[in-house]
Symmetry: C2
Subunit: 206 residues, 2 copies
């Protein structure tokens, strides 16, 4: 590993930044944005309070950076939407979404962070309120397009309209993840979502 790619001051700084964000995932995931303090985050990251302020001046900046990290890690829906057009390939798009959801089960820290932040961000004053409002809207649009395309092909088995089914799908995923965090033994996130998807879009079973 050369000095410029792995050991230079830039790499060191990136490594500290990474440690800070990991600390934030833990801190926000445990006590939420409001409950976490810059002092606590610095301690978890193993750096000084001043060192933390050098990288992130405000807790809001940390929040934004952490949400961006989550989007990258969870192979964000919006990217899947870019990769697979739900209006063109609805079955593949729904299948891709299921893979993302199942993958997130392997990252309980990220899932906990999402549950805590989306819960407290329901308050309109929360700094992540707009982020979640837009994200949920995009995800619903993605599913609506997929279900609309399936309906046009006569492959949708439901009396509900595509918008309602889209809200149902997103609610199911978020709600099951919360239940799973409270009871990891009994709640089967993947199979319950798969059963629901197959029931409305039988093409997914094939």
């Amino acid at each position: 590993m050369s000095a410029t790619t792995g050991r230079g001051p830039y790499a060191k700084s990136a490594e500290v930044r990474r440690r800070i964000l990991e600390a934030c995932v833990d801190a926000f995931g445990e006590t939420g944005f409001h409950g976490a303090t810059m002092k606590d985050i610095a301690k978890r990251a193993g750096i000084s309070h001043t060192g933390l302020l050098h990288h992130f001046a405000r807790k809001e900046d940390l929040l934004i950076a952490v949400l961006e990290l989550c989007d990258e890690r969870s192979a964000d829906f919006l990217k899947s939407a870019d990769a697979i057009d739900p209006a063109e390939h609805p079955v593949e798009a729904l299948r891709g979404m299921l893979t993302v959801v199942v993958g997130s089960e392997l990252q309980p820290g990220i899932m906990e962070l999402h549950c805590v932040l989306s819960g407290e961000a329901t308050s309109p004053e929360h700094p992540a309120h707009t982020y979640f409002a837009q994200r949920y809207r995009s995800v619903r649009r993605f599913y609506t397009e997929a279900y609309t395309a399936l309906a046009a092909r006569g492959e949708l088995r439901s009396e509900a309209d595509p918008e309602a089914l889209a809200a149902t799908t997103l609610a199911l995923i978020n709600g099951l993840q919360v239940q799973w965090l409270f009871d990891r033994e009994s709640v089967k996130v993947e199979s319950v979502i798969r059963d629901f998807l197959v029931s409305v879009a039988p093409g997914l079973a094939r």
Copy 2:
């Protein structure tokens, strides 16, 4: 109104207690249990910090009192379960649940509190973790009994088993409430839940 029922020292104390709990619904609903401070709660309730500590010595005591208040206000599922036995009267039990959910839409404060607290309580160290874990388990049991009874009568239209449908129903309700708090214009909580219930239990439409 007589002095003993309306104006005595007991009634005054009960009135202060009520104001404190209202303040807590707001404070916990906005910034969560971790973010709210005793000082802030006292200020919202219009009493002194010392006055608050006289009624509730610790923030954990306030949390328990607020959760009890919510259970009373939302005509808690468990009480519905007592009133209507889901194994005996599954359709009526599901219909009763729908009424509770629709009713809670009229109380956004309570709904916000529930979303924020259930989110942060996913952390096993949170003082309300056991409360939500038990509550969700009871609610799933209630639905499981209703769906099992419907299946036995040949009135369940789903290939999923009653346990999976129970988890689906709870996830749908919780998830839609979160979406509604972010987008009150477009998310139709009641009709989406009703559509789902009617699709699996057509007897509800009658």
